[in-house]
Every structure is written in C-alpha cells, then in structure tokens.
C-alpha cells in the first residue's frame, strides 16, 4: 500500500526536504538560531520595558491619574482640586477601577544638621497608597505611616545623604498654597528603599492630612491615582471615566500621557532593537536563499520532466512553497522550543547585577537587573518575520517554474 494519497504535495515536499539532509539541517539550524536569538533578545528588551513601565506606573504614578485641568502642564500646589465624594464615586463606579488613591504632591527642601536637599513630598493615605504602589513593602527600617501620624517616611538614598535615622527630625521648607510658607519639622518614622535611584534619592512620604496642613491646602488634592484590574485596560477605563466626569474641570490621563518621555524612550530603543533583529534576519535570509537557489538549480531537469508528464506549474510551485514553509516552520518551532524554557526560567528568576556593574547601570537611572518578558507576541512576531522572509525568498523558485520550458530545462541540465 502506498503512502501517496491526497497529501501527495505534502509527502513530496517533506521527502524533498530530506533529499539533501546536511543542507536542510544547516538551513533549519540557521532559522532556529535566528529565532532563538531574536526571542531571547526581545524577551529581555520587552521585559525591561515592562519593568520600567511597571516601576514608573505601578509603583509611582499609577496607570491612571485624575487632576485639576491644567495641573500636568503646570504642576504646582495651586493647581489642586477639592476632594468630593461625588467625584470619588463616579470614578470608583467605572468597571476595572479597584481603588481611588488620593495624593498631594509638592516639593520642599529637606534639611538635617548641615545637609539640605530638594525632595519630592507625597501626602498619602497610607492604606490606599499601599494598594497602589505597595510602598509598605519598601520599608527597610522603622514603622509604616498611620493616617493620623505627624511623622515622615524617607527614601533610603535621601536618608543616607542627610545622614538621618529613625527618630531624627527633618525640617521641610517649601511653598504652600497660593504662596504661603510651608514649614514643618517631622520625626522620621520609617525608611524605604526604592529600586529606581531617582525615587530612592528624593522621596518623602507624609500622611495626607499632615501634608494638606503643611501646604495649607485644606482638603485639596493634587491627584487621584487609580488602582485598576489590568494594565491593558487603561484606555478603556480612561474612556469610561472621561464620559462621567466634567472634563472642563478635570483631566484624566493614562500612563502613556503621564510619562511621554518613557514612552518615547521605549519607542526609540524598541526601534533600534527591531533594526538589529531585521539585520539578523537578513543575514539568515541570505543563507536560506542560497538553499532555495540550490534546491531550484539542481532540480531543473526534474521540473522539466514533471511538466512534460502533465504536472501543472501551480502544483509544482505549491510543492516548492511547501518545502520552504516546512523548513521555516521546523526552524521556528525549534527556535521557540529551545528559547522557551530559558525565557520561562528567567521570567520567574530575573538576573540581578551586583557590585560595580550595578553601580554603573544605576548611574543611568535604571534598575540593575534583566527581566524577561513572556508576551506571546515576542514569539509569534519572530514566526511571522521568518514566514514573511521565506515567502519573499520563495518567489525566486516560483518565478523560475513559471517561466520553465520543459525541453530547455531537460536539455540544459
């Protein structure tokens, strides 16, 4: 009984691939290597972006913020807005919003003994803030704030600079609401350590009520930051809130608007990474083209015979296309299968740098670690790239077959 059934084209293509095993292995291996390298590179890259976004949005600004209209253009304490239950209810009622976190933000000079430094002061609702930024987990010394405390939590880098410890009192001097003096002296109740150096070197937390007193804002807020169910629901939630609140009075911003520099930085870096990957694919593509060229040239006589005995050109072209698609598919699957365990492992066990490497990386203001992304797109995008390339390269044999004259093909071989 023969195996040549309705899957004749597949059978022919599959067997043709293995006519020259060594060449096929080399071609498939080159595709495998390219996919493996591209998947790993992209995983690290996207992992870094995800971490940057998460660090910035999830642990600092939140994915969505609501301010008084104009605040983002002119971030002063004077552009604050009144806390109203009606506003909170409207925002909280939008599907996907898990918590509405009030904040007041301003700047102050922090002074202790002979040291002074400019700082960012965040007035927070300690419990709600933790739901947004998990700030309690950053505490490395002392106690977490209570809503009624009259003390501060200070970031470790800043504490080290000012040389303050738990129980020491720090003087805050700044400008309050509509030009009032904002002066206070607060004992340090907790010290926190943040992974992002900029945040770690300049942040002070105060309970919301105490910050409102310091800056003389009454019940005013700088922002409402939102805890949401999923990061990719940002656009939908922003649209939902924008329908319910008065956009003359308030501005509703997603993380991309809140951090345009970050978005732009990621886009530029992402573009350069894509260019690198395409260069890699083009190099691999030349190797694949060499194989396709040889496969075509050495079978001209056979094509001539097949055409003579009555095989239509389109069927021959289909078989050749299948051969290339099969080799590309095997290479892609092998590349993904090899890189996948590696990526999965490092996704759950990021690579952290220490020593001089850590210091050097942190000088650029980023966390000294490699995070690996597991976005499905990083795998299927490589597959598409390979298939697209194989598709383009397969045009050559398809054109050769289209123009083939059986007598000429058989005579010239």
């Amino acid at each position: 009984m023969t195996k040549l059934t309705k899957n004749m084209y597949f059978t022919l293509a599959w067997r043709n691939i293995w006519r020259n095993k060594r060449r096929s292995y080399i071609t498939i291996a080159s595709v495998t290597f390219a996919v493996m390298l591209a998947c790993t590179m992209r995983s690290v890259q996207l992992g870094s972006y995800e971490r940057m976004i998460e660090t910035a949005a999830r642990f600092f600004t939140g994915y969505i913020q609501i301010h008084k209209n104009g605040y983002w253009e002119d971030k002063t304490i004077d552009n604050s807005f009144s806390y109203t239950e009606d506003l909170i209810e409207k925002v909280a009622s939008v599907e996907g919003v898990l918590e509405v976190v009030p904040r007041i933000e301003s700047f102050a000079l922090a002074s202790y003994d002979q040291k002074t430094k400019g700082t960012m002061v965040l007035g927070i609702d300690p419990e709600k803030e933790h739901k947004l930024t998990e700030v309690k987990d950053k505490l490395v010394e002392g106690e977490y704030l209570e809503a009624d405390d009259q003390s501060i939590m200070i970031a470790k880098g800043l504490a080290d600079y000012l040389r303050v410890g738990i129980g020491d009192s720090v003087v805050l001097i700044g400008q309050g609401y509509h030009g009032t003096n904002a002066v206070g002296i607060y004992p340090v109740s907790g010290i926190m350590k943040f992974p992002v150096p900029e945040q770690n070197n300049s942040t002070i937390y105060l309970p919301l009520k105490e910050a409102q007193w310091l800056y003389a804002t009454g019940d005013q807020l700088s922002s409402l930051s939102l805890v949401i169910d999923k990061a990719n629901h940002v656009d939908r939630i922003v649209a939902g809130i924008s329908k319910d609140v008065d956009l003359e009075a308030y501005e509703v911003m997603g993380w991309k608007e809140l951090m345009p520099e970050l978005v732009q930085g990621i886009e530029i870096d992402n573009l350069s990474s894509k260019v690198m990957i395409w260069i890699l694919y083009i190099v691999i593509g030349f190797g694949m083209f060499g194989t396709f060229l040889m496969m075509t040239a050495e079978r001209m006589y056979e094509f001539g015979v097949l055409l003579s005995i009555g095989m239509k050109r389109i069927k021959m072209q289909f078989v050749i296309f299948l051969e290339m698609a099969l080799m590309a598919t095997i290479g892609v699957i092998a590349g993904v299968m090899i890189s996948l365990p590696f990526i999965i492992y490092y996704h759950f066990h990021p690579i952290y740098f220490g020593g001089e490497m850590q210091a050097a990386i942190e000088d650029f203001g980023v966390e000294a670690a490699y995070y690996f992304s597991m976005q499905p797109s990083l795998f299927y995008n490589q597959a598409w790239a390979i298939f697209l390339m194989a598709g383009i390269l397969s045009l050559y044999p398809l054109i050769v077959i289209h123009r083939l004259k059986p007598v000429k093909a058989m005579r010239e071989n």
Partner: protein
C-alpha cells in the same frame, strides 16, 4: 485513423549566430496501435520531432494534431493537461521522481489525473507485474538498476492510459540484456494494451523490433517503410 498528424513542420533555432534548421517540412501521420521508430544519425532532428509531437516544444511553422486536436496553438495550461491525459513519455535518463517509491512513481501520474485510490493501486501493481518488477514496488529509483528504472518509466507512461507513448532513446543507457527485456515488454504492451509507441533511436535492436521505420536526415524524412 491517424492519431498523430504533423503537417509541414519546421523548427529553426536562432540561439546561435547562424540559424540551425532542425526540421525542414516534416509531414507525418501515425495510426493508432503503431510501433514506430524514428531513426537517423545524431543531430538529424529525432528528439526535436519527438518533442514537437509531444507538445513539449513548438514548431517554427506547421501544425500538429494529436487525436484530432490541434496542439500547435494550444495555451500552456491546456497543453499540460492534454499531455497528462493523452501522452505517455519515456525519457532517455529514466527521469523517475527520486523521492517516490517505484509504485508511487507509477501512481503519481494517475494522482494527477485524480483517479480513485483503488484504481491507482490496482493499475500500478498490474503494470509493475507486467514489467516484472512488482517485487520492487516499495523501493526507491536509486535502489534499482538502469533497466529496472526504465521499466518503471514505461509503466508510468502507460499508467495514465495515454493515446500514445513517445520514447526518446529509451535504450540509450541500457545494456543489451535490459534493452532486450524492455523491448519485449513494450512490444507486449503494444500488442496487449494496443498502446501506440513512437521511438526515437539509433539502436539497431530497437530498429529491428519496430514495424515502421521513419528515417530522418538533416531535418527531413528520407524514408518511411513499414514491415
């Protein structure tokens, strides 16, 4: 009834500085069931004539009708389909598909004709048995001798039940034993299946078996004798 009819066929190759006139006004008719050899020295136009009769090449002028159909002006796609349904080819170098087994090679042409599987299997095995190589059904061409491969090629040519078979120097690469065996088989097929065979050859053993001998020289028929 003529199954092959060629009228005033000429073929000129212009690929060189001086045009080469491969065929000069060939008129030819071949009846169904004939066992014909086209003979002549190398370069006399045997293969060119066979290619034109098989629709593999176009004449510079003249007309070819096969089984009542003028193929000279036929479109490429239709011509391929016509060849599939009407003509069997046997080439000098066997030309089997190397990745298919013997039986699959014979079956292949029937698959292209979309014949049912049962019919394909039966016909392929029947032909391989007639060729005396049924025991080689599952072997690949590279595992067969030249004579065996050529027998598979004949089986493949017959598998599609063509109107006629064109064989270009089918014994050129065979030893005398294989040549004799192949000729016996083709003669048997001609007799039993009524298959029309047209050979190009300069092999005397083939010429001896043929019932009609057309001799070409310088692209012209110089003799046409039936025995």
């Amino acid at each position: 009834m003529s199954i092959i009819k060629a009228l005033n066929i000429t073929k000129t190759y212009n690929s060189t500085a001086v045009p080469v006139h491969a065929l000069n006004g060939i008129d030819l008719e071949i009846e169904k069931g004939e066992f014909t050899a086209i003979v002549g020295p190398s370069g006399c136009g045997k293969t060119t004539l066979l290619n034109i009769l098989g629709g593999l090449d176009h004449p510079t002028s003249g007309e070819v009708s096969l089984a009542g159909t003028n193929i000279t002006t036929m479109q490429d796609g239709k011509l391929i389909d016509f060849r599939l349904r009407n003509i069997g080819f046997v080439f000098q170098a066997y030309n089997l598909i190397p990745v298919l087994t013997t039986q699959e090679n014979v079956e292949f042409i029937m698959l292209l004709q979309k014949r049912p599987k049962k019919e394909r299997d039966e016909r392929a095995l029947e032909l391989l048995t007639q060729m005396g190589i049924a025991d080689k059904a599952s072997q690949r061409p590279s595992q067969l001798s030249g004579g065996q491969q050529q027998r598979v090629a004949v089986a493949r040519a017959l598998a599609s039940k063509p109107q006629f078979i064109l064989a270009d120097e089918p014994t050129a690469n065979l030893d005398s034993h294989s040549t004799s065996a192949l000729l016996d088989i083709m003669a048997k097929m001609n007799k039993e299946e009524g298959a029309t065979f047209v050979f190009s050859t300069h092999d005397q053993r083939v010429i001896d078996k043929a019932r009609r001998i057309i001799t070409l020289e310088d692209g012209q028929i110089i003799s046409d004798e039936t025995r």
